[in-house]
C-alpha cells in the first residue's frame, strides 16, 4: 500500500516531503547522505533570468530556534539550470519543482515560458523573497500586483503553477485569494519573516544586508496559523512550510491544511530531517490505520 503518495494539483508525489527552495541547492550535496529518490520532490534554488551573485556576506545569523538569511537569490540563471542541473535532476526519480523569481512581471513570465518543454513538474513562483530589491516581496505584499504576476506567469506556461506567499502581510488570505483568482493552481507558504540581528560588540547588523529572512522552528506557529487560514480561504491546494523539523510538525501543518510539506532550515541542523519525516509519517499512518496521508489534510477541528 502506498500510504504516503499524494496528488498535488495533478502532480503525483511519492510522498509529501520536499526540501524547500534555497535550502537544498539542486540536491547534489545532500545526495551524499541519502538517495534523492527517497524524497517526494525537490524545490530547487530560486532561479532568475540571468545569473545573480546575490548579496554580500555575512548572509546568515543565528536566532533562537531559527536563523536569518540574506542570500538574495544567488544562482546561475535559468539557462544554467536547464543545461546543467536539469539533466542531472531528471535521473533522480523525484519530482522537480522549479522556483522562479523575476525582477519584473515580464521576467517572471519569460522564466516560466523558458521552462516549457523541460521536465519540471511544477513551477513555484516566488513572490516573497525578502532579500531582493526588485520583485520578491514587493510582488507578494500587494494583492493587485500578486494577481497580475500570477496571471502573466499562468498565461506563459502549461505547467501547474504554485505561488509562494510572503508572511510579511496584514492578510495572507487576501493575497492567496488574489493569486487563486488569477489562475494559480496551488499556493506554497510561508516564505521567511523579515528579521534583523545586531552584533552588539561592533554595533553593526550581523547581516551585510542589514535585514534577512527568518526561518526555522521559531516560525512554525506562524506557518501553521497561515496555512490554516489560507486553506480555509481558497480551494486550491496548499504546500505548507516554515519551521517544519519533525514528522509531528509535518502532521500538524497537514492537519492545518497543507497537502504537502516543504522542509527548509531544519536540514541545516540535521541533514536527515526529510528522511526522518518520511519514515515518521509512514509509521504514523501504520500506527493510526491511515490508508493515505492525504486523509489527514485539513482535518483540524477548530473549537
Amino acid at each position: 500500500m502506498n500510504r504516503l503518495s499524494v496528488n498535488f494539483c495533478g502532480v503525483q508525489f511519492k510522498n509529501p516531503v520536499i526540501p524547500a527552495s534555497g535550502t537544498f541547492g539542486y540536491g547534489r550535496e545532500y545526495e551524499q547522505f541519502y538517495p534523492l529518490s527517497r524524497l517526494g520532490g525537490i524545490s530547487v534554488k530560486g532561479t532568475t533570468l540571468n545569473r545573480r551573485e546575490g548579496n554580500p556576506g555575512p548572509r546568515v545569523a543565528e536566532t533562537p530556534s531559527g536563523m536569518l538569511n540574506s542570500v538574495g537569490l544567488q544562482n546561475g540563471g535559468v539557462k544554467k539550470f536547464l543545461e546543467y542541473e536539469m539533466p542531472n535532476l531528471v535521473t533522480k526519480d523525484t519530482r522537480i519543482i522549479a522556483n522562479i523569481a523575476g525582477a519584473t512581471v515580464e521576467e517572471c513570465a519569460e522564466l516560466a515560458s523558458m521552462l516549457e518543454g523541460s521536465a519540471v513538474d511544477l513551477i513555484e513562483l516566488n513572490i516573497s523573497c525578502p532579500n531582493v530589491k526588485a520583485g520578491g516581496a514587493a510582488f507578494g505584499t500587494d494583492c493587485t500586483v500578486a494577481g497580475q504576476v500570477t496571471r502573466a506567469v499562468k498565461d506563459a506556461t502549461t505547467k501547474p503553477l504554485m505561488v509562494k506567499l510572503s508572511p510579511n502581510v496584514t492578510s495572507i488570505t487576501d493575497i492567496a485569494k488574489s493569486v487563486e483568482a488569477n489562475g494559480a493552481d496551488a499556493v506554497s507558504l510561508i516564505n521567511t519573516l523579515l528579521g534583523m540581528r545586531i552584533d552588539i560588540k561592533t554595533g553593526r547588523p550581523i547581516l551585510k544586508n542589514n535585514v534577512g529572512g527568518l526561518s526555522g522552528p521559531a516560525v512554525f506557529p506562524v506557518a501553521v496559523r497561515m496555512v490554516w487560514q489560507v486553506a480555509n480561504a481558497v480551494k486550491i491546494p496548499v504546500m505548507g512550510m516554515g519551521g517544519v523539523a519533525t514528522w509531528e510538525d509535518a502532521v500538524e501543518i497537514m492537519m492545518a491544511g497543507a497537502s504537502a510539506v516543504q522542509v527548509g532550515a531544519a536540514i541545516f541542523n540535521d541533514p536527515y530531517t526529510p528522511i526522518k519525516i518520511i519514515d515518521g509519517l509512514e509509521k504514523y499512518c501504520i500506527d493510526n490505520n491511515i490508508d493515505n496521508i492525504s486523509q489527514i489534510v485539513g482535518t483540524v477541528k477548530p473549537w
Partner: protein, 256 residues
C-alpha cells in the same frame, strides 16, 4: 562522502584559557579526512552547527581532534561536553590543503585560533615544514608541542613578546623567506594576517593557500550563505567557504 552522526568524545582537555581540545572516535570520518577539512559541530540548544577545523587525524585509532576556543554561547556549550559523551558532527567537509610530493618544503602559518588546522598539514611535511605561529600573549600559546612531535621546525611569535619573538607572523615569514624559499605556504588566521601573508607570498612568487572563515548554515554547499569574494581570470565572483573552501589559492581571494 559527508558523514553525520553522534560520536564518542574519547579525550578532552583544556589546553589554554578557554581553549579546548577534544578527540572524537569516528573511524569512518577519520579514514576520509584530509588536512584542512572541517567538521560542523552541533551545540545543544542552538540551531546552527559550529564549523571547527579538524586539527589532527589518527587513522589507526579512528579519531579526529578538534581544538577550539570558546567565543560565544555555542562553543561554550560544546566545551561542556564531557569525555565519554556524544558529540554530533558532520564531517569531513570542505576542500583540503594541497599536499605536495615528498621532499618539498612548506611554511605553515597559524594566527591564534587559526593554528589548529596547521597541525595535520604540517605533519605531512615533517622536518620539511616550518611552522610559524602567532598569539596575543604567552598564555594563549597552543599546539607547539604537537608541531615538535611532527618533526616540524617551529617559530613562535607573540604580540606582546611574552613568549617567542615579539612581533607578527608576517615579519617572521619575511625573515624565513630571506633565508630559504619553501615550495608552498599555508596560512590560517585573521583576515589581516592572511592578507599580509598572501602579499608576501605573491612578492616572493610562492604558491600559497589560505583557510578562510565565514558564518555557515548547511556546511555542505547547498544554502549559499557562506559567501566570500574570489577572483579567477580577472573576473570576480562569489565562492562558498564550506564547499569551494575553506582552503583557497591565496591569489584567488579578494581581500577588502
Amino acid at each position: 562522502m559527508y558523514k553525520q552522526g553522534k560520536f564518542i568524545i574519547a579525550e578532552k582537555k583544556a589546553i589554554a584559557k578557554g581553549i579546548f581540545d577534544i578527540t572524537v572516535l569516528c573511524p569512518e570520518i577519520a579514514a576520509e579526512t584530509m588536512p584542512g577539512q572541517f567538521a560542523q559541530v552541533a551545540a545543544e540548544g542552538f540551531f546552527l552547527r559550529r564549523p571547527i577545523s579538524i586539527c589532527e587525524v589518527d587513522r589507526d585509532k579512528g579519531t579526529i581532534r578538534l581544538v577550539f576556543e570558546v567565543r560565544g554561547h555555542g562553543t561554550d556549550k560544546i566545551s561542556q561536553l564531557a569525555k565519554g559523551s556524544l558529540v554530533d558532527i558532520i564531517a569531513p567537509l570542505g576542500k583540503s590543503f594541497t599536499v605536495l610530493e615528498k621532499g618539498k618544503k612548506a611554511i605553515c602559518i597559524g594566527g591564534g585560533i587559526g593554528t589548529p588546522p596547521m597541525v595535520e598539514i604540517a605533519k605531512a611535511y615533517g622536518e620539511n615544514a616550518t611552522v610559524i605561529s602567532g598569539f596575543r600573549s604567552a598564555n594563549a600559546v597552543i599546539l607547539q608541542e604537537d608541531f615538535k612531535a611532527n618533526g616540524n621546525k617551529t617559530i613562535l611569535c607573540t604580540d606582546d613578546g611574552t613568549a617567542g619573538i615579539k612581533g607578527f607572523v608576517t615579519d617572521a615569514l619575511s625573515s624565513e623567506l630571506a633565508k630559504e624559499k619553501p615550495d608552498i605556504i599555508y596560512a590560517c588566521g585573521p583576515m589581516m594576517m592572511l592578507k599580509g601573508v598572501t602579499q608576501i607570498a605573491a612578492e616572493n612568487g610562492i604558491y600559497c593557500e589560505v583557510s578562510l572563515e565565514q558564518r555557515m548554515a548547511c556546511g555542505v554547499g547547498a544554502c549559499l550563505v557562506c559567501v566570500c569574494r574570489t577572483v579567477k581570470n580577472g573576473e570576480e565572483f562569489n565562492s562558498h567557504v564550506c564547499k569551494d573552501g575553506p582552503v583557497f589559492d591565496s591569489k584567488e581571494v579578494v581581500f577588502e
